[in-house]
Subunit: 505 residues, 2 copies
């Protein structure tokens, strides 16, 4: 990911850009130093391994000053050194001994070819238990109704301009999700539609009954139907925001420099929620068919959102940038000529007479992996980056860089999955050199070489995907089998079986 | 369409809301009073009928004070009265005598059941010749290179709060498109990529060669490739804006009250461009398959754009509205309780504590056909409405109501079309009671009853679609064959054959 942030501009200024006002987040400091989420003993209890991150002692980010890899890799000091070796680029996976990751999830990673000191990707795989905060009705919780909820969680975090943000997110984001779900524990387990309004204090009556509705009048003649699914989506969306706010609060004392892309999967009550903020990617490969479960957020895909923000809030451009897009840099000698442009509304191009302010640097420029926002960063969503400034300027990249994820939902109960059906998550190190179809072909090739009930097949698949993207050292570089350049980036891959031997079923 | 604007709020205030700054439009007054576009004599010459709108004498909108129907219907005074009769609701089509509409296009319309005095839909079908404004190189035009361009054009305009805006758009929008295309006549006929920069004055050298490029540096190492297609898209997009600006300029003197949805089709150089601003709809039915060629713009589909604008520019909400969405109106007695909400970033829902400003009316409310923006209007894109204010307020609906279309492109050369393949355009009067699949079934049923080379089959199909949506008078209302209520709205339908006897080929 480092190549997606101009290294020259990652100078961290201590004065932060004021974030846009949003609802206040609960302070998670207590929860982050409290014992971590533990798997439940109840019916939803998963085959979680005791040594996974969920059972590791909780450490707040300030206690960790050195380079780290995901806890579930169980790396010894020697193993950590090997994982950190840019020359060998050994592929790392959880050990084949002991308990596996939930659902027999496969995982593999490899460090970059030297573009940053450490592997700035991070990963997390957890089973998280959510205890309800209180009963919906406001009445004290009855012991028999005190069943919490359990969700399975996978996260990939691709750091840039340092690894701290990715590390922090890998340790805390699922706790923010848990925090957001606490109010919903009873509601999600109640088959009736969610109440629209809850009492402010326990014991006070709720106002969810229809007698509180405004009578039929114009557009308010009915109330909107809100699904349980959309409550989970809302919880995940807000968890990203609160995670980002926590990074903003804690960045000074704890050196949370840089930022990270975040791609997380939550499995809850039969549905898979895939939330993405950045340029990682998730696809389902089901019976050979590819189902995209995310899209990438880059200056190209988000051009119109960025231009709209610059157009409506020109003060965010600081007189240095123009919100208009041009196909190349406008030169002073071209003043008065007519050049192709696009504004925030356009998908087509038209000619406009070049004026003085068109000579400013465009908010969005470049193509493909070279596309940049404010000439600085190649992704437009992610966590952190609160101190990131435009090169040679004090202009903040936020709020153009948004922490808001897109969440897609996949209902696992709508299809009978076989052991070869998988959800593949990868950082851009994988996808820069591997197409969706190539991944699907590798899924088929590797899984067919293993027995369907062999739980190690998903780790083998993750390793094959990472190796296929890294390549082998040849001709003074890492080369793929077709002799093209392999990825020199950090590469991390989760393979989550949707109908495998260790899955939820 | 009238039911989509609260009639109470259509009080027209003479002081206009200031439009957001945009590039200036060319003044079209000259071109609108100049002789109208005429079909060319050259190879692209169409089978245009002499009596169509393209040959009618040009009249500026101020000259027309009375109710009108599309010129190509050739209605006599008696026919005009029948077309205006809410009780009979006779279906109108071009006469079966004389020359047909270009491509043997089918058309049918019917007036509403009494919700507005006149039929507020308008339609236009033209062949438009575009003469180049000047040569790209700036050199005087050589006679041999003086070939202009010709495009085919169809437009449906669904007016609200009066029919003037729809009428004006039906007479002028294609001329704005022609105006935008004038600079592109040579460029579009030149197979090489469009020049990125044009000289400001004829004779001055262009700067389109690569020697003018900035050297390789960061995101500017290459210039963006701009296609001919995207120039046409940009031309259509800007034409909508200039049309809207003209309405803003002329609204006082010429009583251009109200607004309209606009759905237009441009066929140019082998490609079909479908531009939509509003809630009309276009679909292609090809070999029985349905290909959507537009999407509707309503408070529901555009919720996040509207909320984002309200969030970033709260002054546009005038202290009367909140940009947050709630599933129903918040009541004062619920202050302090927690209600479900969505902000501009969310697709899911979450609970928030109700504060005083949440009691404001929400910017977006209601569902389906009852969804409203600012409690006033049910569409979020369209032309006109410059004087539209929120009920009992001076708050303008613009710029929440945007004149910007979405343009979709269909390459006619990529598929060998048969005479049964059609592009169907309809105002919401059709689509409110007819699904895409029902339209496809009617396409199949009606066209199979006619010989493939019978040019009247497309008008018969348009009539069948309009009749199917109107129904027959029964039980004190207009009823469909399944006894459901038919559409009481104005209904207008174009059926454009993509491989028919009169088509471009």
């Amino acid at each position: 990911m480092l190549n997606r942030v101009r290294s020259a501009v990652a100078h961290l200024v201590s004065s932060g850009g004021a974030p846009l006002p949003r609802p206040k987040s609960p302070d998670l400091r207590n929860s982050t130093s409290a014992p971590p989420a533990a798997p439940p003993q109840a019916p939803r209890s998963p085959p979680a391994r005791a040594g996974s991150g969920s059972a590791a002692p909780a450490r707040t980010v300030e206690a960790r000053a050195s380079f780290s890899r995901p806890t579930f890799l169980q790396l010894s000091p020697g193993g950590l050194r090997r994982a950190d070796d840019h020359a060998g680029r050994a592929v790392q996976s959880p050990p084949d001994t002991g308990r596996r990751l939930p659902w027999s999830t496969g995982y593999a990673e490899v460090i970059n070819a030297g573009k940053s000191r450490h592997n700035e990707d991070q990963a997390c795989c957890e089973v998280v238990y959510v205890e309800g905060r209180r009963s919906v009705s406001g009445a004290p919780r009855e012991p028999s109704r005190g069943q919490g909820l359990c969700f399975y969680y996978w996260g990939l975090f691709d750091g840039h301009a340092g690894g701290r943000a990715a590390e922090m997110a890998s340790r805390l984001l699922h706790r923010h999700i848990r925090e957001q779900l606490k109010d919903l524990v009873e509601i999600l387990q109640d088959p009736s539609p969610p109440p629209l309004c809850l009492p402010s204090t326990p014991g006070a009556p709720g106002s969810s009954d229809s007698s509180h509705l405004v009578g039929p009048q114009s557009c308010w003649s009915s109330q909107k139907e809100v699904t349980h699914e959309s409550l989970v989506v809302g919880a995940i969306e807000n968890a990203f925001l609160f995670m980002d706010e926590q990074m903003a609060r804690e960045r000074r004392g704890h050196q949370v420099e840089g930022g990270c892309c975040a791609l997380v999967v939550v499995y809850l009550l039969g549905k898979v929620y895939v939330a993405n903020a950045g340029d990682s990617r998730a696809i389902i490969v089901r019976n050979g068919e590819i189902i995209p479960m995310s899209r990438e957020f880059t200056p190209e895909t988000e051009r119109q959102r960025l231009q709209m923000l610059g157009f409506l809030k020109p003060e965010l451009l600081g007189g240095e940038f123009t919100h208009l897009e041009f196909p190349r840099r406008v030169q002073p000698k071209e003043l008065g000529q007519r050049m192709l442009y696009r504004d925030q509304n356009m998908t087509g191009w038209a000619y406009k007479k070049i004026e003085l302010e068109d000579l400013r640097f465009p908010l969005v420029c470049g193509e493909g992996k070279k596309a940049r926002m404010m000439a600085t960063i190649g992704v437009t969503r992610g966590l952190g980056d609160h101190s990131l400034r435009v090169c040679s300027s004090t202009l903040p990249i936020k709020p153009f860089l948004s922490s808001f994820p897109e969440v897609r939902v996949y209902d696992l109960t709508q299809y009978e999955h076989c052991p070869d059906d998988v959800l593949v998550l990868g950082t851009d190190g994988l996808w820069d050199v591997t197409s969706d179809c190539e991944v699907a072909a590798t899924v088929d090739r590797v899984l067919s070489a293993y027995e369907p009930n062999d739980p190690s097949r998903y780790t083998a698949l993750a390793q094959a995907l990472v190796l296929g993207a890294r390549g082998t050292p040849r001709d003074r570089g890492w080369r793929l089998s077709n002799n093209k350049l392999g990825s020199g980036d950090d590469i991390s891959v989760f393979v989550i079986p949707l109908g495998g031997p260790g899955s939820y079923s």
